[in-house]
Symmetry: C3
Subunit: 334 residues, 3 copies
């Protein structure tokens, strides 16, 4: 595996094999598998789980890593093609990224959506331009529209606790003070559909996921016997749910318009997942969230601190899932 | 040893055994002792020695580490229970800390005093709340009122250079432009008392150490044949001293009141340790300081650049002392 | 080799031996050569290549490293002797640097020119003061006037692609919005002269390299059969050139005077290397630059994206060259 940029780039069987590998490495560690291998990590945006779990994962497999964070000990990087670089950015990604790739055996890059032009973000214009500069194994640490490491961790988490393959997966919009990117909701919908689940995207007016995202999830559902639909009716969506996957994202009806987005979300503060959301779900319905989560804003303490919450296991599985990705990419076949 | 949060949590013999282990690892390195082990380091406050020496210590023992610094590549963490997180902090320690712990074999956390509520700081309210979230070995990298790694390094330093076990240890307040936390003075007084020394806390009016800190040191003294008292009389305190341990801290008579603290310290700039402080000490009296130290503000160049200063050895012993802690925590017994 | 502070500190044969070692380690890796060794890296200024390549180089040789970045998780360091430290800096380099050195087997330090006093910068006053505090192997990661790791990488790059030993090396000033330090131009001129090349420093009025720098390069040329001269005539300089080494630097005629510098560079925006600069060079003339480079400000896209550009190979050779330095410094002879 040369690239891990989006779950949709893999055959479903390849995803299942990665999950199997993650479980194998969890039960039978291979502490020298990646001895001598180096992972470079480039963070154009903040991180906690990704930053810690990739370093830990390389170390658990005997390898090592380095971290570059523009703006934190490294200057800002320019990414616009043809830019006359007379501003703050001192280096272009066209130099910076291949240089970093030349120092390591695999490179991970995090670059969030620009949040201004929906078509450009959906097309992964910025990330694809960066990816085209790298001739080493490359890992998407979250791009404009995709977060495949999170997807793999979430899938494994549901397997771990026995969520039915065809269970009802409700991806619910949750309140946040400002617009957040579409990468996680897009990825979670696709992942759950590919797993074979009944995916319901629950969101208020103005926050519908773009057709391209819904269609991609629908294609995955078609492959695996799942389904995907969207609704604004919370009671209907949550009825019988096995998973409430809470996620904050920006208004898609006025993408890139901060004032419009603020108006739309103004009276949506009740989109904070509380115990009463579970009144008519399956009895063992669980709360998932990719983290970080704003407590009592997106999800209430009463849910996060209850046994319903499996957010810790999701976060832990970032490590196990990524170790499988690293192993598949970097383990010498001999 | 599952936790290293405060020297007082250990029996005196356990402390002596850690010091012995530190000396053994210094003379007979074990470069593979912690192969495959991972230390997570969470810094909620700045660091130089702790940051460098823990990474170096793990590497010297064959292990590895990762560093997370909220505000520097990672978002700010909220720590208040029940907070409605609509402000700057994007993640709560209730998620962040157990997640980090799940990626490593031991976690170190630095979280300075809040500096507003003396009772809360003395009770280690914030640190204890964080510690309760961790089910892995946990190391205190400096909390509101305790810095056990510094204590162990300081004790070893005095052993290294032959400071008499029952010698006179003067913990002297030193000038600083603003209030600093009580962790180091509280820890130094307790450590020297537990070592069996005659501990004198020398401080101006308004800067007395709180009774809880003095009583804790007194209990340690009672165990070991030492003593603890407090004075504002510099000549009397320094007479015959074997150690002047300089440290800056905030006014305790108006804790959390910046204006009151500033008034109190306004005319205390002569609390900068100079050569004449050693006029009536023991001939071989040494200057200790945990660093960082503001030169010519807390301690004068003439002292820091003289053979009296053992601050470098104290800092070096952070490495040796912490290697013993890591070894004791993480070495498989087989 | 105890110190790697300036290429001029080494005999020419020692430089050639380092280059040979770099090639050997490139073709026959030694992944355990520095097992158990620790490199400390102190960055008083931003970095990308140096930060990543030193960590990668240590890992490639089986060792490890830690990074300290004052202002990014570590407080600011004071470097003025005798300072009364009542300002922002909480620690003096006189404590910080020897402490860091005590945790590692070799220390690297980056400290750019102050840019105010040319004589002080030429004398490496600040860096020398720091270097005098270190009793471990020490590497210059770029000081006021020297960047020996870049020099070694550049030399190897020219060897790699077969640039004639006596070829014409044009070190050309390039536009930048503000004054940059002299370390790279000074080092590149000296390196190319020591390699035996015909070195021409091409620069506008007011930007002549100081006599000390030119004389040092001339002494190196005398040793190796090369030559060094300076001109403002671009056509004459570029005619027959084998290398255009573009570099931005500050006005030397009014060093430290930002307004004067800005006036001088005001109408020099045509000092951006474009394709037409190669009209009368040797047919296979290459573009070198140490990076970071501001695209379309110092060098145009049309050059950087053409086969003439060897900036990527220069950057990659930071890794290979530094691995030779680390190996020479830290490999036990047994």
């Amino acid at each position: 595996m040369k690239r891990f940029l989006d779950l949709a780039d893999l055959e479903r069987d390849e995803v299942l094999a990665l999950l199997e590998l993650a479980r194998r490495l969890e039960s039978r560690p291979e502490p020298h598998a990646l001895a001598g291998k180096i992972l470079g990590l480039l963070f154009l945006n903040p991180s906690l789980r990704t930053l810690a779990s990739f370093q830990a994962g390389m170390a658990r497999l005997g390898g090592s890593s380095f971290v570059i964070t523009p703006g934190q000990g490294t200057w800002q990087l320019e990414s616009r093609l043809g830019a006359v670089m007379s501003g703050a950015a001192a280096e272009h990604v066209r130099e910076g990224i291949p240089v970093l790739a030349s120092y390591c055996d695999a490179l991970g890059v995090r670059a969030f959506a620009d949040g201004k032009d929906l078509a450009a973000d959906l097309a992964e214009t910025a990330f694809s331009a960066m990816a085209s500069l790298v001739d080493k194994p490359l890992i998407n640490l979250e791009s404009a529209i995709s977060h495949p490491c999170q997807a793999l961790a979430d899938w494994k988490t549901m397997d771990d606790i026995g969520v039915p393959r065809s269970g009802r997966f409700v991806l619910s919009w949750a309140y946040h003070p400002r617009a957040l990117p579409l990468a996680v909701p897009a990825t979670a919908a696709h992942m759950a559909a590919l797993r074979g689940m009944e995916v319901i995207v629950l969101r208020p007016e103005g926050f519908a996921l773009p057709p391209q995202i819904m269609e991609k999830a629908a294609r995955a559902a078609a492959l695996s016997g799942g389904s995907v639909r969207e609704t604004g009716d919370r009671d209907e969506a949550l009825s019988g749910a096995h998973i409430i996957y809470a996620k904050e994202w920006g208004a898609t009806s006025c993408y890139g318009d901060a004032a419009g987005d603020a108006r739309l979300r103004g009276n949506l503060e009740d989109w904070c997942v509380r115990n009463d959301w579970f009144a008519h779900t399956a009895a063992d319905c669980r709360l998932m969230h990719c983290l970080p989560v704003r407590r009592n804003v997106a999800v209430a303490d009463e849910v996060l601190d209850s046994p319903r919450s499996i957010v810790q296991r999701e976060a832990y599985n970032r490590l196990t899932a990524q170790m499988a990705v690293l192993y598949r990419m970097l383990k010498s076949s001999i």
